[in-house]
Amino acid sequence: MANQLYFEDVQEGMEVTPLVKQPDRMQLVRYAGASGDYNPLHYDDNVAKAQGQPMVIVHGLLKCAFLAQLMTDWIGDQGKLFKLGVQYRGTDFPPEQITCKGTVTKKYVEDGKHLVDCEIWTENPKGEKTTPGHATVILPTKG
């Protein structure tokens, strides 16, 4: 990744570069295979309906992986994702668009590490936050 983000570049309130995803049923099947999460809720409509869903739903873990990508894309090769927390509050359905977003809530130095806290979330096409969360990253400095 060409653009490296540095601690000095970040200000509180700043937006994390958004990441747009559009998982279709094929992607859910691929993720089931790659992750080993074979819960049929993610590929069998009948099972999903029996659990009160209108159709299959996107894996929470896939949305967690999208939010991790949001952060690793933003921080560049020299940045490190340190903490990641997600809550699966709302369901997402294939092949609807999922937009991953974030804002910087705090920047600080602790134990010699340059840390940045972000509020992050996934948004469905209605603009609802289906997966709110938070991340802490360690960034390099220019100095």
Partner: protein
């Protein structure tokens, strides 16, 4: 008839009991498949030449690749209550060391908490499980605290 608590004695007894360790050998192909399934084209996960020049000197796995790993068999297996479904409630991760091909990651897990809450479809059972990931050098790689909702 009063409804029995979903937090059974069996469940309570399992809290804090560490599982057997499970060894997970990390394969390059598994990392690539995972990154492709997520649709994450970051060359650090897949491009050996590129990754060699990067901060880790080798390919590394996307952070949540750890979900692919087996955690050890529970010393006190708990039969889940017969209900309509299971939902992943979310997770908290902390990442300390990168994971790459050839690493052997030992994962252990334990039930940390169990509680019930009223919900839209009746009483829901929340179980919180903690996983610890340690590499072949004995370094702490990551910790995960995940919540599963049974309803």
């Amino acid at each position: 008839m009063t409804q029995e608590s979903l937090v059974t004695d069996e469940l309570k007894a399992a809290i804090g009991v560490e599982s057997a360790p499970a060894l997970n050998e990390v394969e390059k192909g598994a990392i690539r498949k995972f990154a492709q399934a997520v649709g994450d084209p970051n060359p650090l996960w897949q491009d050996e030449e590129y990754a060699k020049k990067g901060p880790y000197g080798r390919i590394v796995a996307p952070p949540t690749f750890l979900v692919t790993m087996a955690s050890g068999r529970s010393a006190r297996p708990v039969r889940p209550p017969m209900r309509r479904g299971l939902l992943d409630g979310g997770a908290e991760w902390e990442f300390y060391q990168p994971v790459g091909p050839g690493d052997v990651i030992t994962c252990t897990s334990k039930l940390a908490e169990a509680y019930e809450r009223p919900g839209r479809m009746g009483t829901m059972l929340f179980t919180v499980t903690e996983q610890t990931y340690i590499n072949q050098k004995g370094e702490l790689v990551a910790k995960r605290r995940g919540t599963v909702i049974t309803f």
